[in-house]
């Protein structure tokens, strides 16, 4: 059957098929190769963390006092640390701490920040004013200072480190999401939801929050990199996770500093790993922002 005259065929009139995730990923990789490289590195880190027991040549906690501070060789590709522990094995287990802390802190920080930001935009008035002033107080402290203060009050340990990183992220995400949510608040479908008598909770969570997903995802990826950097910074300062946990920040302190001149490999490998991880998250986050920002989408 052929279409008569200028009529549009029925198939063509149907809404365009949604692209699958593979297609989207392929498109993202083609348009944003740097972002894709970042994503690949993140994926590789996650894979290494998951497969650490298989990949690590040695137990990362097992010392070998006969091979303390051994130079890189065939037995220990990246050398050993002051306790004779294999640096490569500790490096392979390292992302477990970095990714766990980074993921949990970024996820919780961005999500709580998004909910607060949307709620603040929705209610407006005195609520918005109060929430924003509280946010201002938190935003007035640099990220690391606020994290240090939280650890100083709560003490050390993985749980407290996650909390220390999460707390400073909430106002940062809240502020960005609020600005997006302010526009949505006046959208017709929100008015319609309100007129239909939906509860505030339903309007915020079901109608507004899904529509700020783009800035949320951008913030989330940006926070992951920052969270990893904060976790390693706190561990380096002796305020994060404690020895003998294999963690990149911990690998940079202690003997790595004491023996920086005679055993530079102690600091080199974890230092490069941290830089690469943060670089990868930043590349991916930037590309994601470009891909999701309508103003940049055509570029």
């Amino acid at each position: 059957m052929t279409a008569a005259g200028g009529a549009v065929p029925l198939e063509e009139a149907a809404p365009a098929r949604r692209a699958g995730w593979r297609e989207t990923a392929r498109d993202f990789a083609r348009r944003r190769p740097l972002g894709a490289a970042g994503a690949a590195v993140i994926g590789l880190m996650a894979l290494v963390a998951a497969a650490a027991p298989v990949l690590a040549p040695y137990d990362p906690l097992a010392p070998d006092y006969g091979a303390m501070l051994a130079r890189p060789d065939a037995a220990h590709w990246l050398g050993t640390d002051a306790f004779g522990r294999d640096v490569l094995s500790r490096l392979v287990y390292g992302p477990r701490t970095a990714l766990t802390v980074g993921l949990v802190a970024a996820l919780v920080g961005a999500t709580v920040g998004a909910v607060i930001g949307v709620a603040s935009a929705y209610f407006g008035g005195a609520v918005d004013l109060l929430v924003e002033r509280v946010m201002d107080v938190f935003l007035s402290f640099p990220l690391i200072i606020l994290a240090l203060a939280v650890v100083a009050v709560l003490g050390h340990g993985v749980g407290n480190v996650v909390l220390a990183i999460t707390v400073p992220m909430i106002p940062r995400c809240g502020r960005v999401i609020r600005s997006s949510a302010l526009a949505i608040r006046r959208a017709a479908y929100v008015d319609a939801a309100r007129a239909a008598g939906f509860s505030r909770r339903r309007i915020i969570l079901r109608h507004m929050l899904p529509n700020v997903m783009a800035p949320y995802l951008i913030m989330l990826t940006a926070f992951m990199g920052q969270a990893i950097l904060l976790e390693t910074s706190l561990s380096f300062l002796g305020l994060g996770v404690a020895e003998p946990t294999p963690a990149w920040g911990l690998m940079l302190k202690g003997a790595a500093v004491d023996f920086a001149e005679t055993a530079p490999w102690l600091a080199l490998a974890p230092g490069l790993a941290i830089s690469l991880a943060v670089f990868a998250f930043n590349l991916f986050g930037d590309s994601l922002r470009d891909a999701l920002d309508p103003r940049l989408r055509t570029q």
Binding site: L61, A62, P63, Y65, M68, A82, F83, G84, A152, G155, H156, G157, L237, G238, A242, E243, P244, T245, G254, A255, V257, D258, F259, A260, E261, T262
Partner: protein
């Protein structure tokens, strides 16, 4: 012909040595001594505290009754400080001290025997609610009296060989009787002494500043105009401060690796002084927490530790060195290695020890993979390496141990409050003397420094017996029995290693000697800065 030449050579050597010694001993006045302190004072009260974090920045503000002579490199000669002279009764139970005239507190009031009595009452017989960390060492002391302004009399319950050493404690700052009467806690938060330097300020997290006391009772001293004790927690930053010549020294001690770094970087601009160190890390096991109330579990913990390998390995990377019992190895009351090896955890066959440890844990009902936390002091050396080593040793008997680092200022609060299962503790003495080294381990009701929170009258009895023993052989026997009960039979407290002290200082620093204790020679009045 050769003999006169040799004699002439020897004479010349002596002359050269004497003239260089004389040059060394010609002090120069002025300047500010900047030194780094790796920990901050939990309080300013020397009677209460046990940390160099208090001693190093605060000791220069105070005088003592007696003190370890700062010009004695062995750190063992006792001399008078505010005491001008003293006599000991024939029965060795009465010590009478004459106090110097003309000493004044920085606040202006004169120092009298009444102040010395009040200070020692605060140490030996503290009022309810006042912590005195070393009061358990003074069990032999019955009373302190000040019959007149210049006389102090100590009466003992029994003759004690350690009496003079106890009265020369660098912790026993002389406080004002009036201030103590008004508030026995005043000195925890304020400073007012009669020492060579006057307190200027303490900026928390930054520094303590002291200036020369122009009314100091030793004529011509101190040489320095003042000092700045800068708090730097990170070991790398401490070394960087000395390396960058922003600080002259750090009086606690550095690691062999740090020594190597400074030697390479500064060449002949840096000097090193070394000494055995009267300090040991002890493992405090909280007897009030299950399953650590069971001595089988405590014995298992000590049996798991290979101390000989620990010594070989950790001495290369941190400030610990010798395997020891309750006394510094090689000293007169120390247990010889062959006998030490018979105690739990000192055996050379570590596999046999660990098999016994596993059996004991099983018998005590402790399951494989049992988890607990080792609370440790957040000072890099030697706490962190020792903690890492211990965790690995306990892992080898099926225990799952995590480490929690506690900020130095909060560390004693945790220990005193019993808020831990197992913690890395320490015992450092200012003189090697059983009374001073063992008082800590008496029952918690006797010793404020017993953080393992046990009561053991049999151990207390052994302490008293060794303290009262007038015969050296008998005293050795009691010290050994005390040691066996403490670390083996009851395993109340578990030993790790004796420390080794290395001090690095810029060559400008003169008039200061390293000793086996990092608590003595800290009044700094003999210190001066040269080129």
């Amino acid at each position: 012909m050769l003999r006169p030449l040799a004699a002439l050579g020897a004479l010349l050597t002596v002359v050269v040595a004497l003239s260089s010694a004389h040059a060394e001993e010609t002090p120069r006045r002025g300047g500010e001594l900047v030194f780094v302190v790796p920990s901050e004072p939990p309080s300013y009260d020397g009677h209460r505290e046990e940390t160099f974090g208090t001693m190093h920045p605060i000791a220069p503000f105070y005088s003592l009754l007696l003190r370890i002579d700062p010009t004695d490199p062995k750190g063992a000669r006792i001399g008078g400080d505010v005491a001008e002279s003293w006599t000991i009764s024939r029965d060795h139970r009465t010590y009478t001290f004459k106090i110097r005239k003309g000493i004044t507190f920085h606040g202006g009031q004169p120092l009298t025997a009444r102040d010395v009595k009040a200070s020692y009452d605060h140490i030996i017989f503290p009022p309810e609610g006042v912590a005195s960390s070393r009061k358990a060492a003074y069990l032999a002391f019955a009373s302190v009296a000040a019959p007149d302004d210049r006389t102090v009399v100590f009466r003992l319950k029994w003759p004690s060989a350690a009496a003079l050493a106890l009265l020369a404690s660098p912790w026993n700052f002389i406080y004002s009787a009036d201030r103590l009467r008004q508030d026995p806690h005043w000195y925890e938060t304020h400073v007012d002494g009669t020492g060579p330097f006057v307190f200027v300020e303490h900026v928390k997290g930054s520094h303590v500043l002291g200036k020369r006391n122009p009314k100091y009772f030793r004529p011509g001293l101190p040489y320095l105009d003042g000092f700045r004790a800068t708090f730097v927690k990170a070991a790398s930053a401490q070394i960087a401060a000395i390396r960058g010549e922003r600080a002259v020294t750090q009086f606690r001690g550095i690691t062999p690796g740090e020594r190597e770094q400074l030697e390479k970087a500064l060449g002949d601009r840096v000097r090193f002084q070394e000494s055995p160190w009267d300090c040991t890390n002890w493992i405090g096991v909280n007897h009030e927490k299950k399953p650590f109330d069971d001595k089988r579990v405590r014995r298992a913990l000590t049996l798991a530790i290979d101390r000989w390998e620990m010594s070989r390995a950790l001495s290369k990377i941190t400030i610990v060195r010798d395997v020891a019992g309750v006394q510094v190895p090689g000293t007169e009351f120390a247990t010889p290695p062959a006998e030490l090896e018979k105690l739990a955890g000192y055996g050379r066959d570590i596999e046999k020890s660990r098999a016994e440890a596993r059996r004991l844990l099983k018998a005590a009902g402790v399951p494989e993979g049992f988890a607990f936390t080792l609370k440790n002091r957040a000072i890099a050396h030697p706490y962190e390496p020792v903690g890492v080593y211990l965790i690995d040793q306990w892992r080898r008997i099926g225990l799952n141990v995590t480490q929690e680092m506690i900020e130095p200022a909060a560390y004693f609060t945790v220990l005193r409050g019993g808020d831990y299962e197992v913690a890395l503790d320490f015992q450092c003495g200012y003189l090697v003397e059983p009374d001073l080294d063992l008082y800590k381990f008496q029952s918690a009701s006797v010793s404020d420094a017993n953080y393992a929170r046990y009561q053991d009258p049999a151990l207390d009895d052994l302490y008293q017996k060794q303290s009262r023993a007038t015969d050296k052989g008998a005293r050795i026997r009691f010290v050994r029995a005390f040691e066996k009960r403490l670390v083996d039979e009851e395993a109340h407290y578990l030993t790790t290693l004796q420390w080794h002290r290395i001090i690095a200082h810029l060559r400008q620093l003169h008039g200061w000697y390293v000793t086996p204790s990092h608590y003595v020679n800290q009044q700094l009045e003999t210190v001066w800065l040269g080129d």
